[in-house]
């Protein structure tokens, strides 16, 4: 063992630069993988633990006081698995809520701060002031995502009237504090609460919160409760009923951490792949450079396995050091990531050392590297000591003279560079593979950022389904036809349709039903297979719902609404991220089979020019404002809501792009340094006959350019055509089955040019060591 260690250490000493290089590549892989795994496995656990500590609900039901009675209370109380039930009066309504410099529609719930709560009791985070007249406590998301500060003015706009408050503090809201579910709980002083109650008598509601033996039991409870008291009785189209289930709330809090962790893990896999290629390259070079040395060792009596073991120890030792350093850095960086995610999660996450996750990181990377090292160094076994002593020459080598200078076209430097490429085909292939992979990863992340952060329309369509320019929600659906006629009269309007949602049951599972007259008029791309329903007996199910119901296109499915069951023929599959991916589309006629009196209360408007939206909404509101319970400027709403994702993704994308460029430097450094060392004699000869250092530097840099240019091109093409499948793979668990997000050609081209120019300049910079090679070394060494 001592002998083997001696060999390993002598190899490491001899190749310090390359070993540091490998250490850095593995360091990045370890850093990203540990970070990704910590986020993936522990953020969700942290949320569960926080819910347990704060005694937060597992399910919540909100209904108008007039609809709530003992029956509901008893149902929940005696439902199997329920361990705790809390009921309280709240003021709740749909409203426009101030958020991130704008107003966002949401469901607000005003609560008396003085009232004791068993579940998720009031707890303030950070500095606060006591509640006084006209002041309010907001959930922490309003600070992190809503960009509101202590002492700021805050308003909610309910039923056309604005209520202003001064912010006195922010609360730890584990259940009612997510900007994707948009069901917020605010705390008021008793006096202020009573004042508001007087002003909004129709908003007096009952909130019932439940804890269960296990949080996942709440899915069933919510379905059963809704079936019993909502779908089973007359459809309460316009009355307040909201429910939420633990899994949805948890997903809303962990969505960003989930997708971020996926990106980190995917990138770690890419970097690990790079490090494997780098190791193979290093081992091949070590074997070539040390061929005679290996011959000597074998002649001395060393066994092949001892020499292999020395290489394995050398590479796995360096890798282990790199992974450990990367893991340590991931713990240092984690608080920054946590604070970055806070804007969406509103959760303050402190992660300590996790030996299991870090152990998995270490073992996963190390075992792959170990396998790669062993497989690559196995060729030592085939090396005969005599052959090795002769430098590996076993027979004459009748090579082809590629790019003969007398007959090929092109300048001298270019032709010599081409000869280099041909003679180092494996190395060229390696650079091509590495550059393709990291360009693909980087281009994909840039396109994801482009779609989430800069032009979120299509992404919003994925998240929210159909996204028009504006939405008019009527208080009474009876007024819809009149408003529709008025909207369609406007010259600024391209088209206007009825489009609304109803929660229905499909084979006992709750799913959001999207209802409109003619699906050919919608703009979104929810459908990914088959076709939308056209007739009243047709339906398109979401992939998740179809899977749960074990149905596919051509099957019939039973849908329950308002206590009535109807059979529909499945014509297509749609995707949605809402309701855990459960959804379906029905035509208005199809919906009327379930509920003959059904009338849509929502009008979706598509403008000729999107810039006219705000003015158009104001014009319609001026005429018929009293008829609407809410009007939405969807583009503005998307900007506000997805702005948080955008800023988080901007930072992640920047970090990943920097990592990409760093990996380019590392790989080029390794390859160029090795190449220059190997060609030292050749470069000396060229200098002796009159080549200048710059000519040789240029020759070397140019010889890598084709691999880099083709690699970047391939990576970009993959990035453009394959980033949608990659994105789908990242978010499939959230209900997205297919995506047709537009790739960012501008970003991709900028990235491509950036990598190519950067690589060339870095190659020149690294090749500057050629200047130190003097022709005199040839004769003096």
């Amino acid at each position: 063992m001592k002998k083997i260690l001696l060999l390993s250490f002598s190899n490491i000493r001899k190749n310090k630069g390359q070993m540091v290089n490998l250490l850095l590549v593995v360091f990045i892989a370890g850093f990203l993988l540990n970070l990704g795994l910590l986020l993936f496995f522990n953020f969700g656990k942290f949320y569960d633990e926080l819910c347990r500590k704060t005694n937060s609900p597992h399910a919540a039901f909100l209904m108008a006081q007039t609809s709530a009675g003992n029956a509901q209370n008893d149902y929940l109380k005696y439902y199997p698995g329920v361990t705790e039930l809390e009921q309280q009066e709240v003021l709740a309504d749909n409203a426009d809520i101030q958020y991130n410099g704008d107003k966002m529609p949401g469901l607000f719930m005003m609560v008396k701060a003085s009232r004791k709560q068993a579940m998720n009791p009031l707890k303030l985070i950070g500095p606060s002031n006591p509640l006084s007249d006209n002041s309010i406590y907001l959930p922490y998301i309003m600070k992190t995502g809503g960009k509101l500060k202590l002492g700021d003015d805050f308003y909610v706009s309910v039923q056309g009237k604005e209520y202003h408050y001064t912010i006195a503090g922010f609360t730890e809201e584990v259940y009612f504090g997510s900007n994707t579910i948009q069901w917020y709980r605010f705390y008021l002083s008793d006096k202020e609460y009573d004042k508001l109650k007087e002003s909004l008598p129709a908003s007096v509601c009952v909130l019932q919160t439940v804890r269960m033996e296990r949080p996942e039991l709440s899915d069933r409870l919510v379905k059963d409760f809704a079936g019993e008291f909502y779908y089973g009785t007359t459809a309460k189209n316009t009355s307040i009923y909201h429910d939420s289930v633990y899994s949805n709330v948890k997903t809303s809090h962990t969505f960003l951490s989930g997708i971020t962790s996926m990106i980190f893990v995917a990138l770690a896999a890419v970097i690990l792949l790079v490090s494997l290629v780098v190791i193979r390259f290093r081992i091949h070079n070590t074997l070539e450079e040390s061929m005679v040395g290996i011959g000597v060792l074998k002649a001395m009596g060393y066994l092949s396995r001892q020499i292999i073991a020395s290489l394995v120890i050398q590479f796995t030792g360096i890798a282990a050091a790199g992974i450990l350093l990367g893991t340590v850095l991931s713990y240092v960086v984690l608080p920054l990531i946590s604070s970055l995610l806070e804007s969406q999660t509103a959760l303050i996450w402190h992660q300590g050392f996790d030996p299991v996750i870090s152990g998995i990181t270490l073992l996963a990377i190390l075992s792959v590297i170990l396998l790669d090292t062993v497989l690559t160094s196995l060729r030592i076994r085939k090396m005969h000591p005599l052959t090795a002593l002769r430098g590996g020459i076993t027979t004459h080598n009748f090579r082809r003279n590629s790019f003969a200078l007398d007959s090929s076209h092109g300048g001298l430097t270019v032709l010599l560079a081409m000869k280099n490429i041909y003679q180092n085909r494996k190395q060229t292939l390696m650079i091509f593979a590495v550059i393709t992979t990291i360009t693909f990863a980087s281009a994909s992340v840039l396109s994801i950022y482009y779609n989430v952060g800069l032009h979120p329309d299509t992404f919003a369509g994925l998240v929210a389904g159909e996204v028009p320019d504006s939405v008019f929600i009527l208080k009474n659906p009876v007024d819809a036809a009149g408003v529709m006629a008025e909207i369609r009269q406007s010259e600024k309007v391209d088209k206007a349709i009825y489009y609304t949602f109803r929660s229905v049951l499909v084979n006992g599972t709750e799913a959001q039903g999207y209802v409109t007259d003619d699906f050919s008029l919608i703009r979104g791309k929810m459908l990914y297979k088959g076709r939308y329903p056209k007739h009243d007996n047709e339906i398109a199910l979401s992939g998740v719902t179809a899977k749960q119901a074990a149905k596919t296109i051509g099957d019939t499915v039973s849908v329950n609404y308002n206590g009535k069951n109807e059979e529909y023929l499945i014509t297509g599959l749609i995707q949605t991220m809402n309701d855990n991916g459960n959804g379906l589309t029905l035509t208005t006629k199809g919906m009327k089979r379930l509920y003959p009196d059904f009338v849509s209360e929502q009008i979706y408007v598509y403008m000729k020019d999107v810039n006219d939206t705000e003015e158009f909404i104001d014009t319609i509101k001026l005429k018929s404002g009293s008829l609407f319970s809410n009007t939405l400027n969807m583009n503005k709403l998307i900007d506000v809501q997805l702005g948080v994702y955008g800023s988080v993704f901007a930072i992640i994308t920047t970090a990943i792009t920097l990592i990409t460029f760093f990996v380019v430097i590392l790989v080029l450094y390794l390859v160029l340094k090795t190449s220059i060392l190997r060609r030292r004699r050749e470069l000396g000869i060229q200098k002796a006959v009159g080549f200048t250092s710059f000519q040789l530097m240029n020759q070397i840099a140019l010889s890598f350019s084709p691999a880099i240019i083709t690699g970047v091109t391939a990576g970009c093409i993959l990035g453009i055509y394959c980033f949608n499948p990659l994105f789908v793979a990242l978010v499939q668990s959230m209900g997205i089955m297919t995506a047709s997000l537009p790739a960012s050609y501008a970003f991709t081209i900028i990235l491509a040019i950036g990598i190519i120019v950067f690589s060339y300049l870095i190659s020149l910079l690294i090749s500057m060591r050629i200047r130190k090679i003097t022709p005199y070394m040839l004769v003096s060494e």
Partner: protein, 252 residues
């Protein structure tokens, strides 16, 4: 009167190694004349190769000046020296140093294209030179590893001559060759010298030295003596005697 192509003035070269200084060339004043076949001889460590590489711009002196005609070359930057070498110098090394990754023809053309833009012209001249040194077309297309030492060294001479250098520098050109191959290489060099090519050659070998017309003997980094042998003639006993007597005088 002969024209001097290279002139050194107080040329010194000192190597430092771990604080230890070794003065290899000491205040050397020397002139190399156009058209001469100058041979530098001396015992091991006398500074022969150091002088050769300093004169050719492959290495820089520690002190003193080297003039190539009117141009001072000892102070030129590395890149300017490279340009100087490609225009004015040709090299023949003991270890040959052809580029293993190129055919012989490409080895030569790669040097030629540093000066000429016309591949056609260079290829034609290369082929002419190959023929002149006795290498056939099948050999031009081969790689250095596929040749005998003599063939490779003759190809080395072709590479050295491709740019019509003012001076051909040769460092023990026959040192790694058998006697037949060595003689063939020397014949080529003698032939090109007859055509007016200036040559400076470092050698230990008396047979090789006999090809020169001027012998410079170095000892401890200084010129210890020199002798003129006159033009080379085969089987010239007198030249042989003059050289032997000069060398024994120098303590060879």
């Amino acid at each position: 009167m002969q024209k001097a192509v290279l002139t050194t003035s107080k040329l010194s070269k000192t190597f430092s190694n771990g604080g230890l200084q070794q003065h290899v060339l000491k205040n050397l004043d020397l002139q190399i004349y156009e058209g001469d076949f100058t041979v530098i001889m001396g015992s091991s460590g006398a500074g022969k190769s150091t002088l050769l590489y300093a004169l050719s711009g492959m290495d820089k002196p520690t002190l003193g000046e080297i003039h190539f005609e009117a141009q001072e070359i000892s102070k030129l930057s590395n890149d300017k020296l490279a340009v100087f070498r490609r225009k004015n110098c040709g090299f023949v090394f003991q270890q040959i140093y052809l580029l293993d990754t190129m055919s012989l023809l490409d080895n030569v053309i790669a040097s030629g294209l540093l000066i000429s833009k016309s591949k056609k012209e260079i290829a034609a001249r290369a082929k002419e030179l190959f023929t002149a040194v006795g290498l056939t077309e099948t050999i031009w297309r081969k790689f250095p590893s596929q040749l005998s030492g003599g063939e490779a060294q003759r190809a080395g001479i072709v590479r050295a001559l491709i740019n019509n250098p003012r001076i051909l520098f040769a460092d023990e050109p026959t040192g790694a060759l058998n006697s037949a191959s060595g003689a063939a290489v020397l014949n080529v060099m003698t032939e090109v010298n007859k055509n007016g090519q200036s040559i400076i050659m470092v050698t230990h070998d008396i047979k090789s030295a006999l090809r020169g017309n001027r012998i410079i003997y170095l000892k401890d980094g200084t010129v210890c003596g020199e002798c003129n042998l006159g033009s080379y003639k085969e089987e010239d006993v007198k030249r042989n005697e003059v050289l032997h007597s000069f060398l024994s005088e120098m303590g060879w």
